[in-house]
């Protein structure tokens, strides 16, 4: 090899001389006829949200059957009620999705939401400050809480699970210390800061009651969908969740990005806090005790991968709706609501199994 003059080195190795006559396509394989399961796997790989959509449509159809709910389910009133019931968990699930897309998890969203709502209530009612000041302070708490989580994750390099488990307790204790575990009553809110309850107001369309909170939830999802799919920020969220090291090498400042994601999640939690005041009417330090897990449930059922980087932000909206539809449908069918809990449990396992399956997709 070494005595070959330089000019002829371009020709490559001897054993490769036959390559010039070989097929010119690079690794293009003949497309084999795909089986049904293979086709399904590919379709789901491209659209992981299809599963929750199908489950949602199927459950709405089943509960609409006259022999199941005697027509009580499929009314404008009931459907709008389901929307109202899922609106707070829906918005929280949107915040949760941002964190889970980066391959993290946030156990503190529920506590942070109450913390933020309590601060809004205390400053607006007990301290008698103008509503907009109360809102600003509430949002500062929510975004600040997200920032604290983000700082521990990126600067101290702790796993998000541990950080948010810790801040969950911390947020809960602070808000209980602040309120002395007392609720802020609805009539006090009406008298001092009615603007905080704005998202409880509604528009009537026939028998349907569309609350501002429901519209807000849809807006939150629409804006996040745009950010995640149409902006570089969104693409980077997915890249980090997919493979953080690769994202860093490819030129993303991953820690700075993660901080913005945690703060954005905090902002969305603040929105949920404001909406929750309108939804509940009062502010109770003990409300939404299960909101953390419910938000994770909605995300998982919605087809967002717990391992990060995959899934559509619209999935958790459907996930939250599935939970709401099951609850309403089973109640109207006269069945024990525990069956909803039973069904949701199975849905979570099914959703993660499907996620694992579609990850194995190949060309």
């Amino acid at each position: 090899m070494s005595d070959t003059p330089k000019g002829s080195r371009k020709t490559g190795q001897d054993f490769e001389s036959t390559l010039s006559s070989s097929d010119t396509k690079v690794a293009a394989f003949e497309r084999k006829h795909r089986g049904v399961m293979d086709t399904i796997q590919h379709v789901l790989h491209l659209n992981p949200t299809l599963v929750p959509v199908m489950v949602l449509v199927a459950s709405v159809l089943i509960f609409s059957l006259p022999m199941v709910t005697e027509g009580k389910f499929l009314t404008m009133f009931n459907l709008s009620l389901v929307m109202q019931q899922v609106s707070i968990i829906g918005i929280l699930a949107a915040a949760q999705s941002l964190i889970i897309l980066t391959a993290g998890i946030d156990l503190s969203v529920g506590a942070l939401m109450i913390f933020s709502a309590v601060v809004m209530g205390l400053t607006g009612v007990n301290l008698g400050m103008p509503s907009f000041v109360a809102l600003i302070l509430g949002f500062v708490v929510a975004i600040g809480g997200g920032l604290v989580n983000g700082l521990f994750v990126t600067r101290v390099k702790l796993p998000p699970f541990i950080v948010t488990l810790g801040t969950w307790y911390i947020f809960l204790s602070i808000l209980r210390l602040l309120t002395g575990s007392q609720s802020i009553r609805s009539q006090d809110l009406d008298a001092e800061a009615p603007f905080l309850k704005i998202f409880g107001s509604f528009i009537s369309l026939g028998s349907a009651r569309i609350t501002f909170g429901v519209i807000l939830m849809i807006l939150v999802f629409a804006v996040l969908w745009y950010m995640l799919n149409k902006t570089a920020w969104g693409r980077h969220v997915y890249a980090i969740g997919d493979d953080k090291e690769a994202a860093e090498l490819a030129g993303i400042k991953t820690d700075r990005m993660l901080l913005t994601v945690y703060m954005m999640a905090g902002l969305v939690v603040g929105i949920a806090a404001w909406a929750s005041i309108g939804r509940v009417g009062s502010i109770s330090p003990n409300a939404f005790a299960e909101a953390n897990l419910q938000s994770i449930t909605a995300v998982v059922i919605g087809g967002i991968s717990l391992f990060g980087g995959r899934g559509s932000i619209l999935g958790p909206l459907f996930g939250a709706l599935i939970v709401g539809v099951f609850e309403s449908g089973l109640r109207l069918a006269g069945l024990d609501v525990q069956w909803q809990v039973f069904a949701i449990g199975w849905l979570i396992i099914l959703a993660v199994a499907i996620d694992q399956w579609i990850r194995k997709v190949s060309a």
């Binding site: 902006t231 980077h236 997915y238 890249a239 493979d243 490819a250 030129g251 993303i252 400042k253 060309a363």
Partner: protein
């Protein structure tokens, strides 16, 4: 070599605890050349490359690009300076599409209000550019540019990663073991890509264990040993077994190769 080196490093030192990965390493890359970097496992090739590409910050030493001293705090810094790297791990996001991967961190936004205030990406412009670059490099057997990278074969992924570097690397392209995971035909394709990139005047640093590949494309060979540059040899003057002997310490390199270093 009468020209000044385009990328030059002197006295690089990098320690990890008690392990010294780079021990006063020097490095020179001249304009328009393919410089191969070879060395035994643990010789510090990867650390050298990471130092040059901004993925690792050295403890001591200086790096100059076109005669100007530079320090990179991240891979992004090196990239902005015109140094593109294809890592052995490829640094691709498997679930993202080919286009998204090519443009990670340098996305094109729509002109006007949508782009400026709503930060909307110009998908069409990015797709066009990516398609153009991939076909320039003969990689257009990839049918769908919006396909997720994880659905591509190993060679195709390598191609996407090399195409990304070639498309944006304005001054230097560093390739870390680009043929290690590839078959004969795909390796050939990548070697052709490398020569193609050089013919456009962009110098290339090629890290490889594959001696036939190194001797085929390299203009000069930098032998790395025990954390520093041992010597630089011309592939026309030495055999592959000489090179292996130098890098494993079985044979002392001749004095003139050492002084050239």
């Amino acid at each position: 070599m009468t020209q000044a080196p385009i990328l030059k490093a002197r006295g690089l030192v990098k320690r990890y605890g008690r392990v010294t990965a780079l021990d006063n390493a020097d490095f020179d890359l001249y304009p328009g050349e393919i410089l191969a970097v070879i060395g035994d496992n643990g010789a510090g090739k990867s650390s050298l490359i990471k130092a040059l590409s901004g993925a690792v910050q050295v403890d001591e030493g200086s790096i100059e690009l076109e005669g100007k001293p530079i320090t990179f705090s991240s891979p992004l810094g090196a990239r902005n300076a015109g140094i593109e790297t294809v890592y052995q791990t490829l640094a691709l996001s498997p679930a993202l599409s080919i286009v998204d991967n090519m443009f990670v961190g340098r996305e094109i936004r729509k002109p006007g209000f949508m782009g400026k205030y709503l930060k909307m990406l110009d998908k069409k412009a990015m797709e066009e550019f990516a398609r153009e670059k991939l076909s320039e490099l003969g990689l257009m057997t990839i049918q769908n540019i919006n396909q997720a990278v994880e659905t591509l074969s190993g060679g195709q992924r390598q191609g996407v990663s090399v195409a990304r570097a070639a498309a944006f690397g304005s001054k230097v392209i560093i390739l870390d073991e680009p043929t290690a995971a590839l078959g004969v035909k795909e390796s050939r394709k990548v070697l052709e890509l490398i020569q193609d990139v050089r013919s456009r005047g962009i110098p290339i640093v090629l890290i490889s264990h594959n001696m036939p590949h190194v001797f085929e494309v390299a203009d000069r060979i930098h032998v790395h040993r025990l954390g520093r540059r041992l010597c630089v040899v011309n592939p026309d003057d030495y055999t592959m077994s000489d090179a292996v002997a130098f890098m494993t310490g079985a044979k002392e390199p001749p004095a003139e190769a050492m002084s050239a270093a």
